[in-house]
């Protein structure tokens, strides 16, 4: 009981201190760019109404989900193919290294040429930025499948879809999740900036509109919403990862206990 209390104290103490420092330091602030926290919080419910949630937050999240899911499927599928054949890997490696090194945000102007400024553009931008970390990590993961397990599967006659599901993708999944985690943060960046470039709705668009019209407290609430979205998505990701990779973390913990 006391243990739990102390842990709770550790979790809440610093955020509470920081928030109160922000509150006190900004209270009575007349600087236009740093409005008092009190004002920001008071503006919050006025700005982020249910209506705004359906018109701005939901479309952003839907676009992110569509782009990210496409990137995950394409990345894992291509990565499995490339990782399984040594020759294919040797042919593709230099090109992939180059494509991965291109900073994803420069894709926005290119894809705007092809796809205009609608939803398609944004989804394609998110997909084409997120696909590289997933793809390259899948290649690495598939390449590193334990040869003993490979031969065991072979001698038990496990082939085709069963081999893919229970051997290849299973043992590559920790690597795939590393790629998915990197892709998630790139996806959020691309979601926001593709909306900042061009658009009529979405979180990025709204926040930039507030900034352009010098609605500073509103802009701050937008920054808070973006921050909370990033935090929530990472929590969701961790929950999913812990479920899917539970066997792997358990294995590692066991290996660490018996050196």
């Amino acid at each position: 009981m006391r243990r739990a209390l102390i842990r709770l104290l550790f979790v809440v103490a610093l955020p509470a201190v920081l928030l109160s420092v922000w509150w006190l330091a900004s209270d009575g602030s007349t600087n236009v760019f740093w409005p008092p926290l009190r004002t920001i919080l008071r503006t919050f419910p006025d700005v982020w109404t249910a209506h705004r949630f359906t018109t701005d937050v939901v479309p952003s999240i839907l676009r992110l989900t569509a782009g990210y899911a496409t990137a995950a499927v394409v990345g894992v599928a291509l990565g499995t193919v490339i990782g399984s054949y040594r020759r294919v890997r040797a042919v593709c490696e230099p090109v992939l290294e180059f494509l991965r090194a291109v900073p994803p945000p420069v894709l926005v102007p290119v894809i705007m040429l092809f796809a205009g400024i609608g939803d398609t553009m944004k989804i394609v931008v998110i997909t084409s930025g997120c696909v590289w970390p997933v793809l390259l990590n899948t290649v690495e993961g598939v390449r590193a499948v334990d040869p003993v397990m490979k031969e065991t599967a072979l001698s038990y006659g496990i082939t085709g879809a069963a081999r893919l599901r229970t051997l290849v993708l299973r043992s590559a999944s920790p690597q795939i999740f590393t790629g998915l985690r990197q892709a998630l943060s790139i996806g959020i960046i691309l979601m926001v900036i593709s909306e900042m470039f061009a658009g009529t709705d979405g979180l990025g668009y709204t926040v930039v509109q507030f900034q352009r019209s010098f609605a500073v407290p509103d802009m701050w609430t937008g920054i808070l919403v973006l921050g909370m979205l990033g935090f929530l998505l990472s929590v969701v990701f961790q929950v999913v990862e812990r479920r899917v990779l539970g066997w792997y973390h358990g294995l590692r913990a066991a290996a660490r206990r018996t050196p």
Partner: protein, 257 residues
Amino acid sequence: MRGLNTALGAAGLAAFLALGEVVPRVGIVKEAYFPPTSRIASAFWDELEDGAFWSALGDTLTGWALGLATAVGAGIVVGVLLSVVPYLREATASTIEFLRPIPSVALIPLAVLLYGTELRSVLLLVVYASFWQILIQVLYGVQDVDPVAEETARSYGLGTWARVRHVLWPSALPYVMTGVRLAAAVALILTITAELVIGAPGLGATIMVAQTSQAVPEMYALIVVTGLLGLLINVGARTVERRALAWHQSVRGEVAV
């Protein structure tokens, strides 16, 4: 074997470039949107002779290097401090877990209001994004310190500073180097983003100008430049990592028994 792989890689690259030449020529995609490789290449050479290109490249590299250096310095200092001072790690864990996933692009409007298109806007975004990469790796690295080594150092009477210098730092260095490599890539992404979106001078802003003035081959040439820059940074970071960790078993390739 190595020779064969290099040859296959070169063949893949050649095929990729040839595809870029053929696809627009045949008319599968419009040439106005996707110029053939040869036109991108000639635009690339034109850029190399242009003084404005080199100053843009210089601006981008300045923003990248300053931002990365600040983030690395701050990340290491804060990371070591958090691990050395008792209870600080536990007390800051929740705050770090909350602040880390906040996308740095959320700070773009603030950067615009505060600093406009100055270098400082770029630095704000770059430092915020790369700082967490370093800090997290430093914290992981410190957790990985061998308790026996730590206790040995204590019983030999090493002070705090000596323990940080001779036990904690070498054990954490592989992690720190991973952090630096990741942060170098992230810093480039954020530098280019800031230039694209905010319009701070640099390659990103030049790409945006090329796009709005319909100079499509130039735009592709500049994008190729950013890709090459990213490639150089990756290779450079890996080289630095190997040099700095030449003593470490992961690089030496020996298995400790």
